[in-house]
């Protein structure tokens, strides 16, 4: 039996933020999350951030340490850094724009369900926006031993909606 196991999918349709809940459990310790075909309803591009959700359904809004590289095809690579931040960082789930411009990401998440460990993650992806593009590669940790069961993305500007795409979560089995 192959080791990467599908857990859940969340379709994105007309919301400022999207949660995929009840995906992290005692079944796995390492997860892969993909975001594909994601666009917004606005031609004004907007950063999309990532957060985690605990078992009570609370979106965690503090205690993230993060370091990202923001690569622009029309420029150089710059750093996006955060300590005790409110999310995994500005644009940690890329930047959204109006279709056909879109984003895609792959995240690896470690130990979310454990109450003896913080939750760790790294990610890489890219997207097109404003007639240009972006690379994003990042690393982060939520410095909390709360039991984490879900994942959340949101746009900075609540007037803009994420209106297409999917989030999918897979568990990496260890037998």
């Amino acid at each position: 039996m192959s080791a990467l196991r599908f857990i859940k999918e969340q379709e994105i349709s007309g919301t400022t933020s999207v949660s995929i809940t009840d995906v992290f459990s005692s079944d796995f310790d390492v997860y892969c999350l993909t975001g594909t075909n994601i666009s917004s309803n606005s031609s004004s591009h907007d950063n999309v951030q990532a957060r985690l959700i605990d078992e009570s359904g609370t979106i965690k809004t503090s205690s993230y340490d993060t370091a990202q590289q923001d690569g622009a095809p029309e420029a150089a690579i710059s750093a996006i850094l955060g300590t005790n931040a409110s999310s995994f960082g500005l644009g940690s789930f890329m930047t959204s724009d109006l279709e056909p411009e879109s984003l895609a990401m792959t995240w690896w998440i470690f130990n979310p369900y454990s109450t003896s460990s913080y939750t760790y993650a790294y990610w890489q992806g890219g997207g097109t926006l404003a007639g240009l593009g972006r690379m994003r590669k990042g690393v982060g940790v939520l410095k909390s031993t709360d039991r984490i069961t879900g994942f959340h993305i949101y746009q900075n500007n609540t007037a803009r909606l994420l209106n297409s795409g999917h989030l999918r979560v897979y568990g990496l089995s260890i037998n």
Binding site: S2, A3, A67, Q69, S116, Y120, Y122, T145, S173, N175
Partner: protein
């Protein structure tokens, strides 16, 4: 119908402190399964929740016939992702790949990562691997060297070894997969 192609080969979870963990490596493997990297597939190694008994460097080596290779033949380059600012390393002739500096579970200073292994089974090629991590180091900083390494001797590698500069590995799960 295409079936899943990421196949677990070996795994070991530290239950009592150990000096090192070997995945693959035949009879030297920590799991006792007596398996090796013995096909020309790409392999994937995953480690997480790795802690040490004291502040220590966390090291990665290839194994040759089940023994961790300690020769000065590891060349690696990486970007250090750290909220305090990015760093960079380019190292030649090291005796290991230095993945991170980790510490006690009580300090929440641990290592987590994924590595893809290339050419390991080919005696005429160099063993290559990438690594991507998310850690918290002995300074309590989110930290992660992200890059890759080349073992600069043309010979087959049959496994991987994780160890520390000092002390024991007290926690951690280490798993080897092949992508067929």
């Amino acid at each position: 119908m295409a079936l899943g192609k990421l196949i677990q080969v070996d795994t070991y979870t530290v239950s009592t402190p150990v000096g090192s963990v070997i995945l693959g490596g035949g009879s030297s493997g920590s799991s006792g399964l007596n398996v090796s990297i013995d096909t020309n597939d790409v392999y994937m190694v995953v480690w997480y929740n790795v802690h040490s008994s004291v502040d220590a460097e966390f090291w990665f080596r290839v194994t040759k016939s089940g023994t961790g290779d300690t020769s000065a033949n590891y060349d690696y380059a990486d970007k250090l992702f750290n909220p305090a600012g990015f760093g960079r390393r380019g190292v030649t002739g090291d005796t290991k790949t230095h993945l991170e500096n980790i510490s006690l579970q009580s300090n929440q200073e641990q290592g987590n990562g994924i590595s893809y292994l290339y050419n390991f089974n080919d005696a005429n090629e160099l063993s290559y691997y990438t690594y991507e991590q998310s850690n918290r180091n002995i300074s309590g900083q989110s930290s992660a060297p992200v890059g890759g390494c080349v073992h600069t001797v043309r010979s087959a590698s049959d496994g991987v070894l994780f160890t520390l500069s000092t002390g024991n590995i007290t926690h951690g799960t280490f798993t080897l997969y092949k992508q067929v």
